[in-house]
């Protein structure tokens, strides 16, 4: 059982236990859909939806699930909410869903979600799990936004599709390519660790 205050429970997901920068979880979607800010944001919101509702359901029915089959049960719960998110995106935001390809259904294997069920929702109350899920998703969205903003501005000179760099700017094609995703995230991880070291010393 977690005994943190509600505020601390939420804030830990933003930095101390940030899923991408500190725990290195959910790397696949982080790299794959951050070519533009809009797909990064859509992935963040879809993952938030799945994480919040899975955490609520798992923490509410935790006493009914036998320990031996808990992982399988979590996966079924998660897969159901991923299906809802996938169908919703297909129905109302078809171009975005098309641009994200297989990565919306792949939320089901995003280790952030299964990790939070096993590490948190299965041991804490529904209210606390909701706060934890909100914190973790905010941390995930933060990471996606930082990465996709850098990649879209440098790679296309745009932000959310609007031109923001002047005519002098020559887009760096590499940032749109898969290589740009790896390089940017690698450098960001280094920066995150350097900041952490610095604050630890003080």
């Amino acid at each position: 059982m977690s005994t943190k205050s509600i505020g601390a429970e939420y804030l830990k997901g933003l930095w101390d236990e940030n899923p991408v920068f500190r725990q290195l979880l959910g790397m696949c979607p982080t790299l794959a859909v951050t070519g533009t800010v809009i797909t990064g944001l859509a992935m963040g919101l879809a993952t938030t939806f799945v994480l919040i509702f899975s955490s609520l359901v798992v923490s509410s029915i935790k006493k009914l699930i036998p320990a031996q089959v808990r992982i399988a049960s979590y996966i079924v719960v998660i897969a159901s909410f991923v299906t809802i998110a996938d169908q919703f995106l297909k129905a109302y935001f078809y171009p975005i869903s098309k641009a994200m390809g297989p990565y919306v259904p792949l939320i089901v294997v995003n280790c952030i979600i299964l990790g939070r069920q096993e590490a948190f929702a299965s041991k804490n109350s529904a209210g606390r799990s909701l706060i934890d899920a909100l914190g973790m998703s905010s941390g995930f969205i933060l990471a996606l936004l930082v990465l996709s903003t850098i990649r879209e501005i440098l790679g296309a000179g745009t932000f959310l599709g609007y031109q923001i760099m002047g005519a002098w700017f020559k887009p760096w094609t590499i940032m749109i390519l898969p290589a740009g995703a790896f390089l940017t995230l690698g450098v960001l991880l280094g920066i995150a660790l350097a900041i952490e070291r610095k604050t630890m010393r003080n």
Partner: protein, 191 residues
């Protein structure tokens, strides 16, 4: 010719790790030594080939004929999870030496997004049966190639002077980026 193109594309051009960003966790986690990288690659290739066959059968014999495509995510993930368990029990019974080599890597594969990605991408591309099998096997080989190359580079990196905060995952991702750039050159092979 079509099949050769699918194979080359799966191994080199649309490499699972360096193009689709799938299977990043084992790619970063099990790439410190060439030996273990090779075993992991072998285990992934094995499971991918079987998954390709089974997911094609489920998709084309059950889900599509009965218009149940919306159950794709739930059914694929359950089938993959149980399949890995079955494969593990089967190998332990049939070939203890192979089990020794793959043993600890098999359970890790259940949560490997590359396996689920394979099933989904094969169904998105609407491959026929033979194409799916070639695609599954080729993707596994592509993963093996990427992880062995990575392990080889990382063994050398141990001796290099890497800035403190970049040690570990940071430098591994930057190396992967340079590899992705090199693999980008293979695009010319298909045009």
């Amino acid at each position: 010719m079509e099949l050769v193109a699918i194979f080359i594309s799966a191994v080199l051009v649309q490499n699972f790790v360096l193009f689709y960003f799938l299977g990043i966790c084992p790619f970063l986690g099990v790439s410190k030594k060439i030996d273990s990288a090779f075993s992991m690659g072998l285990a992934v290739t094995f499971v991918m080939s079987i998954t390709a066959v089974v997911s094609w059968l489920i998709n084309n014999l059950i889900l599509i004929p009965y218009s149940l495509e919306y159950l794709q995510i739930v059914s694929f993930i359950l089938v993959i999870a149980s399949l890995v368990q079955l494969v593990e029990m089967f190998i332990r019974k049939i070939s203890p030496p192979l089990y020794q080599a793959l043993g600890i890597y098999l359970p890790l594969i259940t949560t490997n997004c590359a396996i689920m990605g394979l099933a989904l991408i094969a169904s998105l591309n609407e491959y026929g049966f033979v194409e799916t099998v070639i695609f599954g096997f080729g993707s596994g080989l592509g993963f093996t190639l990427a992880i062995i190359l990575m392990a080889g580079i990382r063994e050398q990196l141990d001796l290099a002077d890497v800035p403190e905060p970049l040690k570990g995952a940071g430098i591994a991702l930057i190396v992967a980026g340079i590899m992705a750039l090199a693999f980008n050159g293979f695009i010319g092979m298909l045009t």
